[in-house]
């Protein structure tokens, strides 16, 4: 019996295959799947945001603090983004949110991400920590742009580049690992979820038909 969950899995499988079809070439199925994803994600995001906002607002309204409706009114000012004549009203909620981000970050980031990082770098206990300290100092020299990199400065800067390149190489390896893990996740879904695996022969057949039609079109 076909249940809604079965249809959902089939939809997921179809979405996966349609999006993978981009690897062959861009096509209508890919574009439809892509647009369906964007629309559904936007709609879903609105629902979750609305539920979260209501959960925060409701206790104040239930306590009779009606002035909390002002937060919703200020939030609605975002819509003036689309009206050139009253665009300036959009700056109020933006100012509040941006200001909160600035205040929250500035108060702590200089300690956590600046002073603390410098403090930890100066704790030298073994060869590796010495190398880290040397690497940080040399890499910072590389970013120093107000002096020409000449003589000893140049060599220090080159050591810094080597450390940075090694870091980027590690980042590359980690990124490959992450993307392959994603691919493994998708293929596991396609291969092992009933009834998604029934879509695989359908996809292969469509691909073969597509390749044959492409070849005929080229010959013509």
């Amino acid at each position: 019996m076909v249940t809604v969950e079965t249809l959902t899995i089939l939809a997921g499988g179809a979405m996966t295959i349609a999006l993978f079809s981009y690897l062959w070439r861009e096509n209508l199925a890919f574009r439809i799947a892509e647009h369906a994803y964007i629309g559904a994600a936007a709609g879903y995001g609105v629902l979750i945001s609305a539920e979260a906002a209501w959960r925060l607002l409701e206790p104040f309204l239930k306590a009779g603090l009606w002035y909390w409706y002002v937060t919703a009114v200020i939030g609605l000012l975002y819509l003036f983004f689309f009206l050139p004549k009253y665009f300036w009203l959009y700056r109020y909620p933006t100012g509040l949110v941006l200001g909160s981000g600035i205040g929250v970050l500035l108060a702590r980031a200089l300690k956590t991400q600046f002073l603390e990082q410098i403090r930890v770098t100066t704790i030298v206990t073994d060869v590796n920590s010495v190398l880290v300290a040397v690497g940080v100092i040399c890499s910072l020299f590389y970013f120093y742009a107000t002096m020409e990199h000449r003589g000893a400065f140049r060599y220090v800067s080159r050591i810094g580049i080597c450390f940075l390149m090694a870091a980027f190489g590690v980042s590359f390896g980690a990124t490959v690992m992450a993307r392959i893990s994603l691919l493994i996740g998708r293929l596991k879904f396609l291969y092992f979820t009933d009834p998604a695996y029934y879509l695989i022969p359908v996809a292969i057949a469509l691909l073969i038909i597509g390749i044959v039609l492409d070849r005929r079109k080229k010959e013509q």
Binding site: G12, I38, T71, Q113
Partner: protein
């Protein structure tokens, strides 16, 4: 309307909010901290409304595309998925009190469209990375060789097969992540935070007005 209302008051709101919340972090005074927590709740509620911009922009763009007979099918699919999900979910939540988390249809939309869509789009990058690695990744200089070498060592060190090929791959990987990677990323964090602080100070002082968008 004067520049005071259009520019200076929004800027003052930004500065006041920034100092108010920075003060909450640095001062330990219960009344002030409680007021700040209420302020955080208010700003969280206000910030949630930002999604209205994305749905309005998507709707305008795709309705225009349909009107101009460009990408009619794709745009229609997008608009139907977006509005059907929102209308049904909001109806069930606002009128019937069913949370989107518990609403069956909404969860099926997430499981059947959003989740596979997001995961597949990013997983396609695996193919592009592999192709790019073969076609473009060349050890043309010392720096490129270091980058390539450390990437290869990390890829093999993090996979079980690497340890089977050579037992020192995981050891080298650990050293690479603990020493040069830490040094490099720490440098990026240090320089990044200086840049961000400079940017935020410029915003507070009013030199940076990009956040205000277009107009006067």
């Amino acid at each position: 309307m004067s520049l005071v209302v259009k520019r200076y008051i929004p800027h003052a709101v930004l500065v006041a909010t920034a100092f108010f919340l920075a003060g909450d972090t640095l001062l330990l005074e219960k009344t002030y901290n409680d007021l700040a927590t209420s302020g955080v709740k208010a700003i969280s509620i206000i910030g949630s409304f930002a999604v209205l911009i994305s749905i309005t922009m998507l709707s305008r763009l795709h309705v225009r595309r349909i009107q101009r007979r460009r990408t009619v099918i794709e745009s229609s699919v997008l608009l139907v998925c977006m509005w059907a999900t929102m209308i049904w979910g909001l109806f069930r939540f606002a009128v019937q009190g069913v949370s989107p988390l518990k609403e069956f249809a909404v969860q099926q939309v997430f499981s059947g469209i959003v989740s596979p869509g997001d995961a597949t789009i990013y997983s396609i990058l695996a193919f592009f990375i592999a192709a790019a690695a073969y076609r473009a990744f060349r050890a043309r200089s010392i720096e490129a060789t270091i980058l390539l070498g450390s990437g290869v060592i990390v890829m093999l060190g993090k996979a079980p097969i690497g340890e089977m090929i050579w037992g020192y791959f995981p050891v080298l990987t650990t050293w690479l992540t603990d020493v040069p990677n830490t040094a490099g990323v720490r440098t990026l964090i240090l320089s990044g935070i200086i840049a961000v602080t400079a940017l935020y100070v410029r915003i507070i002082l009013g030199y940076e007005r990009g956040w205000m968008g277009r107009g006067d």
